[in-house]
Structure formats: C-alpha cells, structure tokens
Symmetry: C2
Subunit: 194 residues, 2 copies
DNA sequence: CGTCTATTTGAATGTACTCAAAAGCGGTGG
DNA sequence: CCACCGCTTTTGAGTACATTCAAATAGACG
C-alpha cells in the first residue's frame, strides 16, 4: 500500500501532482492480478469498472446469436479495458473480457472515476486527449474495414500489436479481422510465399 | 455579429457561461454557409479546423487507390466534422468532406479550440463526455461490421440516421455500409418483400 | 508417448462482386 | 406538355472469393 510505486503517475503520465494528491489518486486504484483464462467481465453484467492494463493482455469480444465470437479489441500495456458502451450508458454489458496473457490490472470504479474528474481537471483533460487518440484510431479501423482487404488488415494488425501477434491464438486474430480462422491461415500462407 | 443567437450555448448545451464568456466563445465560431456539392475538406490538405453542423448534412469519405469512395460518416445537426486523425496528428488529411445537403456550419480553428480548452475547463469536460459517446458509438459500429450482415447494418443505419435516409444517394449509404450499390439495391428489394 | 487443442489443407457451396444493360427519375428547353 | 439528357437505381449473368464442413497435420503439455 505504501510501497511507493506511484501507479497514478504512470497512468497519468505528464500530469504533475503533489505528494498528497498522488496518494489520494493512487488509493483509488485497486491492483488486480489475473491469470490467462480468467474472465474479467461477462455479458449482461452491470459495468461499474474500468481496468488499466499495466502488463499482460486482455481481449474484449462479443458473442453473437449464433454463438460466434467477435473480438473487438486487445488491451495491452497502458491501455484501458471495459465495455464502454455499457459503462457510459449505465446499461448491461454486451461484451465479455477475458485475460489471454497473465496480467496486472488497476481497477477503477465509476464512482472513483467521477471523483477524479470532479477534483482534478487535469485528469479530465488528460482523458479527453486519450479519447481523441482512441477515437481517431477507431475511425482508422472503420476505414480499414471499408477499404482494405483482409490481408491488408492483417498487416495493419501486426503493426498495431507488434508484441502480441506471436503469443495469441490465430482464431482470436481472425475474429478481430472479421474473417474465419481458415481464411487467416490461407492469408498467412500467401504471405510467406512472397 | 451582435444579433444574439448564442451559438456557444447551443453547442455547449448544459454548460452555463457568463455574458462576457459567452461573447468571447461565440466570437471564436465562424459561421459558414455551404451548398450541396461544395467541398469542405480535401485529402492531402493540412487540417486546421473543426466544423460544428447546425443544419444540413456533410459526408466524410476516403478515396482508395482504386478510386473507390468509402464513406466514414455523415454529419448532421449537432455533430462535428473533421478529419480527426489528421487534426490530432497535425498530419495531412486522408479524408474528404463534402456537403450533401445545404448546411450551416460553425468553423473553429485549432488555435481557438486550444484556447477554449485552456480557459474553460468546463468545455474540456464537455468535450470529454462527447468523445466518450462518440467512442462508444464507433465501438458499436466496429462490432456491427464484425458481427452483422449487410441487411442488419442497413437497418442500424436507418435507426442512426432516420432523417437523412430519404434524402441521400443510395451509393453513399452503400459505401458507408461497405457493400456495393447493387448489393444495397438487392437488400432493399428483399426488405419490401417481407 | 499420448491426448487435447490449434492450425492447415482440401473440396464443395454460397454470397457478394463485377460488368453490362435496362429502367426510372428529375430537370431543362423546345 | 412532351422529348431529351444526365444521373441513379435496378436487374441479370457470370465470376471470384470467403465460407463451411470434414479431415489431416502440427504443437503443447502432462
């Protein structure tokens, strides 16, 4: 608790806080260690937390009416994970989040987030800038879905997630790209050929 | 100029400003009237503005290497339009923005936006909340692209943009959904049948 | 080594695409 | 008012490509 690893200054890199502020903010984050395979969030739950990923990897995915999984995002170091739609709307989750590589998370409840926004305008501003980047990158992905072939999207994926490509299941990547695992297998085969 | 239509209070609905603040903010917005067919932004330009749409409709789209157009978004009343990726990165636009229904816009330069953020934390916070919603809705769209059929996406589109569906070109909708105009035509035919 | 899971390969199917042509829909001018 | 023109949408036929299903191979781990 008082081992001074100021997670707050790691998460809100660039903002300067006083000692006492740092302590207040730090105490809001609950460190959570999760193992590969653990479920962090399940569809239909009420969403009251966001998770900051310090290490490891999470996967958020949707299960459709036919039981097929569709991966929305992988969350790696310094990313945030949650079902944001449900979180903002105060509705129930449609996403599931599972740990696919042993991870250290910092959990923040909605109440605490609101507290931080209320008391630290610099955090508000920080998050606004983060969201700008996240928003832009979703725009880019949407554009990629419209304009690019599966092969090009796969190359984009490798660029976006250079560190995890080696360690995650093929079919997770496929379900992120919007193709079947068989198709991705063929795409990869194509690529080594050339 | 002094005809008191406080566009600022329309745009930042919910925030309360003093008279003098309102005036300062109002003066940052430059009213721009554009006609159907006019180009607001062209690929490769430096992006220095954002546009608030008071009425009418804009379309932002990408032209790929084969010359095909892909519609990223339609911007209607109370939406913002820009090439946000380029705007945030200070890079050149890859998107084009055209007016598809006579529109009244309020233009805001990057400098003025930064000024507003700096001097009005409430605006920072307001934009953060807007971005949260926008981010969530892009997540939803991405999920839709992965999990839904073109027909379902078309139904979603009609829900998202109930007012413009009647007035915009079929092929614009098609290029937003990620199908050809011929396919969309067939989807519509299917739908009236049942 | 054996079992379980993941990936690859193959063959058949189906869905969306391309290209070409026809039909529909405005608007303009004779 | 009708004829014509340009543009959009629809229809049709053939094709390409990703998918499905089934089977074989490869990898991971006790």
């Amino acid at each position: 608790m008082n081992s001074f690893n100021p997670i707050a200054s790691q998460i809100f890199k660039g903002i300067s806080f006083t000692e006492s502020e740092l302590e207040i903010i730090n105490n809001k984050f609950k460190k959570t260690v999760v193992k590969k395979g653990e479920i962090i969030l399940e569809a239909n739950e009420i969403v009251t937390n966001q998770y900051y990923v310090q290490s490891g990897c999470l996967r958020s995915f949707f299960i459709d009416s036919l039981g097929r999984e569709h991966t929305l995002q992988f969350a790696v170091k310094d990313w945030w994970a949650s079902d944001f739609t449900a979180y903002f709307d105060k509705s129930r989750a449609i996403l599931n989040i599972e740990c696919i590589q042993d991870a250290i998370l910092f959990k923040l409840t909605k109440n605490d987030i609101d507290f931080l926004f209320k008391n630290f305008p610099s955090i508000d501003s920080f998050v606004r800038k983060k969201l700008e980047k996240a928003y832009a990158s979703f725009q880019k992905r949407t554009l990629g879905n419209l304009a690019k072939t599966a092969k090009e999207r796969y190359l984009d994926f490798i660029n976006t997630y250079p560190d995890i490509e080696q360690n995650i299941k093929n079919y997770h990547i496929a379900s992120y790209l919007g193709v079947t695992k068989e198709s991705l297998s063929r795409i990869r085969k194509e690529m080594v050929k050339k």
